[in-house]
Structures are given as C-alpha cells and as structure tokens.
C-alpha cells in the first residue's frame, strides 16, 4: 500500500466532503447515515441515496404532469409530491433539495402555478447536481479502498 497515495486521497476525500457540507449540499443527517455504514454494509449510503434519486425522478415527473395544464392543476397532488420529496431529502441530508421543497410547498398552498414550475425546475437541478457530487465522493471512496486505505470519518461539527 502506498501510504502517500492513500493519505493524499484521504485528504482529498475529507476536503471534498467538508466542502459539500459547507456549501449546503449536505446537512447533519448525511453524517448520521454515514455512521450507519460499516465494513459489513459498505454500500449503505450509496444505496440509500440511489433510492432517493430514483424517488426524485419519479416524483418530479408526476408533479410535472400535474402542473402541465394551466387550467387544470391538481395542487393537492403536487403538494403531496413535494411533501414526499421533502421527507426523503430530509432523511438523507439533501439540504438544498429540502430547502427548495419548503418554498415549493408555499407555492402549492397559494396555488401559484408559475412559482411551482420554477420550484420544480430548481428541485430537478438540485437533485441532479447532488447526484453528480455524491458520485464523485463515492468514486473517491472507491479509490481509497482500492489503494488499501480506509475511509476517514469526518466530523462536521
């Protein structure tokens, strides 16, 4: 094992994950999830976020359909979709996605279709952005493991 390479990768990983927290992509709940991962379940976090991203895609499609016709928007259904999205984003620590959902809910309550469409676009952007970021993070993890190192536990508090 090349300890220099491992140390460099670990440093890179640490800096990257800290930046994700600092930029508000992730919140404390993500670190709670990481605590639940161990050698026996090394893919736990990746699996959970994968389910989350699938959820995002599905819910965004449903809400998009509900918002499509200006004269016939089912705000209740959109609100239900936002509620689910808010819940699951909260459960994985996807802070930016969650925050958009908060605004999104408001738009539903006042039945603002334009506002809803903007939020929908934003939520789509945010989840895809997070997906890319986390993919990079997981790739770093893989590189560390392949180089024979261990994933650092990062304290964000």
């Amino acid at each position: 094992m090349n300890t220099t390479v491992v140390a460099q990768l670990q440093r890179q990983f640490q800096d990257y994950i800290v930046s994700l927290y600092q930029q508000g992509f992730l919140d404390n709940q993500f670190s709670e999830l990481r605590k639940l991962q161990d050698e026996g379940t090394p893919d736990f976090v990746a699996e959970v976020v994968s389910l989350f991203f699938d959820d995002c895609s599905k819910l965004i499609n449903t809400m998009s359909a509900s918002l499509e016709r200006p004269d016939n928007v089912d705000f209740k259904q959109v609100d239900s979709g936002v509620h689910q999205l808010k819940g699951s984003s909260s459960s994985v620590g996807a802070q930016r996605v969650k925050n958009v959902c908060i605004s999104f809910k408001e738009c539903c309550h006042v039945q603002n279709r334009e506002g809803c469409l903007r939020c929908l676009q934003q939520v789509d952007y945010e989840y895809k952005m997070l997906k890319t970021k986390l993919q990079d993070l997981f790739n770093l993890e893989q590189q560390i493991l392949q180089a024979g190192g261990t994933i650092p536990q990062v304290d964000i508090n």
């Binding site: 709670e32 639940l36 379940t41 959970v48 959820d55 819940g87 699951s88 909260s90 459960s91 994985v92």
Partner: protein, 209 residues
Amino acid sequence: MAVGEVMRMEIPAGGDLTVTTPELHVLAVDDSIVDRKVIERLLRISSCKVTTVESGTRALQYLGLDGGKGASNLKDLKVNLIVTDYSMPGLTGYDLLKKIKESSAFREVPVVIMSSENILPRIEECLKEGAEEFLLKPVKLADVKRIKQLILKNEAEECKTLSHSNKRKLQEDCDTSSSSSSSHDDSSVKDTPSSKRMKSESENLSSLF
C-alpha cells in the same frame, strides 16, 4: 448464550418464567422507500430483528388484524415494537395506532409514531391514544437506541411483574417497584402523557437546527 436461546428460570412464588435474550422484533411501517431503508438499518444496527411494510393496511395484514383469514396462524407472531410513520396514504399512523390498541392480541405492544412535522395537537392526539413516543424525522441512531432501551426496560418490568403475581398489573407494580434507577418514569406511560410529550418535544426541538 446465543441470541434467541431460551433461558428458563424457576421462580419461588410459583410457575416457570421463560425469558428470551432480548432480540426485539420490530415492525416498521412507512410509505417512503428511503425512510424504510433508513429505519431498517437503524434498527438492525441496534440489534433488532426488523420487518418493514409500506402501509398501514399491510401492517394490519401482517398482524392478522385485517379481519382476513389466517389470523390463527399468527398466534406465534411476536412483535415487540411497532414504529410507524404518521402521514401515509390510506390508513394513517394514527389510524393504525388505534387499531392496534383496540386489538386484544397487540394492544400491549408499544407503538412509536414518526413524523416530519412537529405539530403539537398531532403529538397529543397520538400520545393520548397510547403511543409510546413521538419521534420527529429524520430519525437518528440516538432516537432508536433510546426507544430500544425503553422497550427493554418495559419488558423487564413485565417479567418482574409476572414473577410476583400471575396477573399483569403493570402500572400498580411499576409504582411500587424501587429497583429501577433510570430517570425515565415508566409508570407514567398512560397516566401522564404530557411528560412524554414534553420529553419528546424538548428532545425534538434540540435536534432541530
């Protein structure tokens, strides 16, 4: 002793007391697949056996409370704890709670409600209906560990009660019990729900940022 092995104790007061090592079986109910995965892991990591279902209706089916056939096969079904989301399509967590508390088979099983919304009337309503605790989502490991301790303690209290008398007079015995040194007052489970609510509330508030 291996997990699941049965230990038999002879109690002088009369009758056998059969005690199993505490691997709790938890039924977790949530319509969100993400939340189901998380709660399952939280419980497994806390050494619980977990069954997850996606709806209140499914939960009732699992427990044999749906009025369907096969309820007799479920005589041996042991569920130590039910954890359920509040907002679910169809049967809500509250509806499920009510049905469980109305059943003779499962009314003694502690039910914990989870919700992403910190709505006081909702919390009060659930505690009044007999919920053990109300957890604010997202649920953390510390929440699950606390719940598990609570359940294990309740079960230990019940075993002690059985050893003193053959009848289950849980509240009466808890009042007179002096050996529990934890600051958590179990005897107040049904009498003073406000203490649970206040405890849950303050803990939930402290987990908000």
